[in-house]
């Protein structure tokens, strides 16, 4: 049995009808065509599926879509303003902080939430906040450089 839910996704109100057992990741990718967030581990460990719900990072692989009813959801597609990329996106390009890009959406959104909470984190604070995001290509050095550069600006 479907349930109607309303979310504000990247600033725009959107209404979808979903079965209660569908995950937020599934609905955002399959119903809303926002495919930046990826499915990795499916058990809240890797961070590839990260979305911001009311500004806070969560593992969308393990959030029921019905549980996001009435909330604000931010996906990586919502980071840029029109043609202007978010400073984090610019910085990831500048420092080459990705190879395959599978983890990138999760890293960018988690970093955005971190900077919203604390605009100038030091290295330890960055590592502590970002520690639960995995990059299987091993671009951690470049990701740190990219994050450090934004955190210091």
């Amino acid at each position: 049995m479907k349930k109607a839910i309303t979310m504000e996704v990247n600033g725009a109100s959107c209404r979808v009808e979903v079965e209660p057992w569908r995950t937020l990741l599934d609905v955002v990718r399959e119903e809303l065509d926002l495919t930046g967030a990826k499915l990795g581990c499916d058990i809240q460990v890797c961070g590839a599926c990260t979305l911001l719900v009311d500004g806070k990072p969560v593992s969308a692989c393990s959030v029921l879509a019905v549980d996001a009813d009435g909330r604000k959801v931010t996906t990586v597609e919502g980071l840029a303003e029109g043609d202007r990329l978010h400073p984090l996106q610019e910085s990831f390009m500048k420092f080459g902080a990705l190879q395959c890009g599978y983890c990138t959406s999760g890293f960018l959104l988690t970093a955005k939430a971190m900077l919203d909470e604390n605009p100038h984190p030091d290295d330890e604070q960055i590592k502590s906040y970002m520690g639960g995001s995995f990059c299987r290509c091993g671009c951690y050095q470049e990701i740190m450089q990219a994050l450090r550069s934004v955190a210091r600006s």
Partner: protein, 292 residues
């Protein structure tokens, strides 16, 4: 996932009523961090999920008289950044920096941490050493249990099918007391803990004897537990090398760890001994120094 109904009661009474109606075939749905995994993997197939997150009164951390009252919907991250707790029990805020990852800390709740009966957790071990109790609502008026009594076995608690855990109540620390916790992880820091040890004691200002000693152990038995023989080894005497050693050995013997990928049984017992020794000595010094 098997198909289920999704219900959103606005009050605790309503939630208990719905649970009763489903007679064991419904589950309380809090943060969902544990449930969604069990549902996806087919380990649980309830007819209904009762989402309790619309019940705002369960979200608060409050001081009530001398007690601290933590609502069951308070998340790990709420604890991490709570001003009340930073002032009253900073040990809780500090341990949360290492729990899971930021995404789980944003979702997972205190109630779920306890009610899931998961063996590899942090908060319950500390709550037990604080002599915490839990308030439980049900369709026949509710009850209060010592937290320690809530746990029965791996993934098994005393909670009955119509019950909702509503609050954790923590009494104040006596004067001249200290408490501390060590979360030991044998692989990466973002892994679940391998061992948790919490120690609390009061130190007699004249004479320096240890009083009201609590040694809590997590992850090394089917449930979080008090190491009562270790406590007895320290109770009533000033701390010295001899009783410290006895307490450490007692704790290593009375726990019941499992061989797993985080370490062998023997390794875990040795680590329990080392951590109990180190932590007891640190907490003794803190309590004696008047810092708590």
């Amino acid at each position: 996932m098997k198909h289920f109904e999704y219900l959103e009661p606005g009050t605790v009474d309503e939630a208990c009523g719905l649970l009763k109606q489903y007679a064991g075939n419904a589950r309380v749905f809090a943060g969902g961090s544990s449930l969604t995994i069990l549902l996806k993997q087919g380990f649980l197939q309830p007819d209904a999920l009762i989402n309790i997150k619309k019940i705002d009164e369960l979200r608060r951390i409050e001081e009530s008289g001398e007690d601290l009252v933590i609502g069951s919907l308070v998340t790990h991250h709420d604890i991490e950044v709570s001003e009340v707790l930073a002032r009253r029990l900073p040990v809780l805020c500090e341990l949360e920096h290492d729990v899971a990852n930021i995404r789980v800390r944003n979702m997972a709740t205190v109630g779920g941490n306890i009610a899931s009966g998961e063996p590899l957790t942090d908060l319950p071990c500390v709550f037990i050493t604080l002599d915490a109790t839990v308030r439980i609502a049900n369709t026949s008026g509710g009850r209060t249990l010592a937290l320690e009594e809530v746990f029965v076995d791996y993934y098994e608690t005393q909670l009955q099918e119509d019950e909702v855990l509503t609050h954790v109540v923590i009494p104040p620390l006596p004067a001249h007391s200290a408490i501390d916790y060590v979360r030991f992880s044998s692989s990466s820091v973002v892994d679940k803990p391998c061992i948790g040890v919490a120690v609390r004691m009061t130190v007699d200002p004249d004479g320096g004897a240890c009083r009201e000693v609590r040694v809590g152990l997590g992850c090394v038995a089917p449930t979080p537990m008090r190491a009562r023989n270790a406590e007895a080894a320290l109770e009533g005497q000033p701390l010295n090398d001899d009783n410290l050693q006895k307490a450490a050995r007692a704790a290593a013997e009375e726990c019941d760890p499992m061989d797993d990928l985080r370490g062998s049984e023997r390794y875990k017992r040795e680590m329990v001994a080392a951590l109990v020794r180190r932590l007891s000595s640190r907490v003794y010094d803190q309590a004696r120094g008047g810092r708590s």
